[in-house]
Amino acid sequence: MIDLLKIISKINLTTEEKEMFSSFIENNISQNLIEIIYRNKLQFLFLKHIIDQKQMELVSNKWGLDCSALLYFNNLLYEEYMEILDQITQEFEFHNIKYCVLKGFSIIESLYRINGCVYRKFSDIDILVDKKDVGKVNSVLEAQGFIQGKISLSGEIVKAPRKDTLYWSLNSHQEHEYIKFSKYAITPFMRINIDINTTIFDGGKYNPPISTEELLNHRHRKHFRGDKQFYTLNPTYELLQLCYHFYKDTTYEAKKIESNDYSLAKFCDIREYILKFKDDIKWEQFIKITNCNGLAYSVGQVLHLVSGFYGDIGLDSMFNKFEITNAMPDSEMIFKNFKNF
């Protein structure tokens, strides 16, 4: 099962992997497998591999149709988010608000667009800004129709109580989320979510190892769709951010117990990012930043896990350069206990 999931979570398969996929799928399609694929957020990649390997007859037409519908909507929503991001970032630049797009949305275009289709699920856009600009950001987003709020029981967007926005602002790495309904919304579930992050690390009283101001000095304009370009972190810092985000979401002790966020989609992001941008990442600088800022254990641990899982990202010689005193986690033990498998 783990070998199959490993293959499914790769965008491009070798000839041998294609054969292994075909062979395994012929004999092992089950409802259990499908559930595991969804838990790991790999349904779109699985659909792609099924079609590429000409094995559509092995899944039910109903499943294929349902997944295709979700994929289609995912792509529609992606285009809508791109339009919205374009509008927002133009306003940010007009108001001298330094920003960069973070996390999944920053890598979808470059990693997951294949033959015009985006094969990665997403649920929001994360944007990093300096805390001093939050007031201006709030004005821009409100002017664009966003509300810091939630969906009421009657399906309307209502402004969040002041105590909720205060709580997020003081204790989280991001402000309370901004939402509005998608232009395609036919139910209240279909909405646009913007998360304004004021740090890529933990929020609250935690003193970030690298300030947001410093991070925003390491952004670059990345080409997205058509003529659209937005600021993201440069590859060296973007990898750092992807790894730390993975660490925050998955390897904290409390989350280890649940393992809900140990989805392979995150493993896939990091592997594919490294393979694609290996020559653009300044590895010596990357090591130095992690070591000098006390991030060697968190970032090194993530790379160790991803490297251990796939075995093909070619970073083995790097691990002894991380200045770590704690032992690396036992990858095999983690994978054995990984309930998403």
Binding site: K131, K132, D133, V134, G135, N138, R162, K163, L166, Y167, S169, L170, N171, E175, G204, K205
Partner: protein
């Protein structure tokens, strides 16, 4: 209104709202008198209600909210600048 007035009033808010019996001064860290991350929210709300204004987003930090002195410094400056 002088900063000292804000200091007195904010101290009274804290004592009355959270039943603080322990002695503390304007520079005592609020965390040292039991004002945790949930109580700090209540304190901010109480101050905003008292003075009819909202803390600016970029000033909502544990640095601004660390002591009565730092809070009253901020509130006093807001008053001076006509933000309340």
């Amino acid at each position: 209104m002088k900063k000292a007035n804000f200091q007195i009033e904010i101290k009274n808010i804290i004592i009355n709202k959270f039943n603080i019996e322990k002695e503390f001064d304007y520079n005592t860290l609020l965390t040292d008198i039991g004002i945790d991350s949930l109580k700090i929210i209540e304190l901010v709300l109480a101050i905003e209600e008292q003075y009819g204004f909202e803390f600016e987003d970029d000033k909502l930090s544990y640095q601004t909210l660390r002591s009565i002195d730092s809070i009253s410094e901020y509130v006093f400056n807001c008053k001076k600048e006509g933000k309340m």
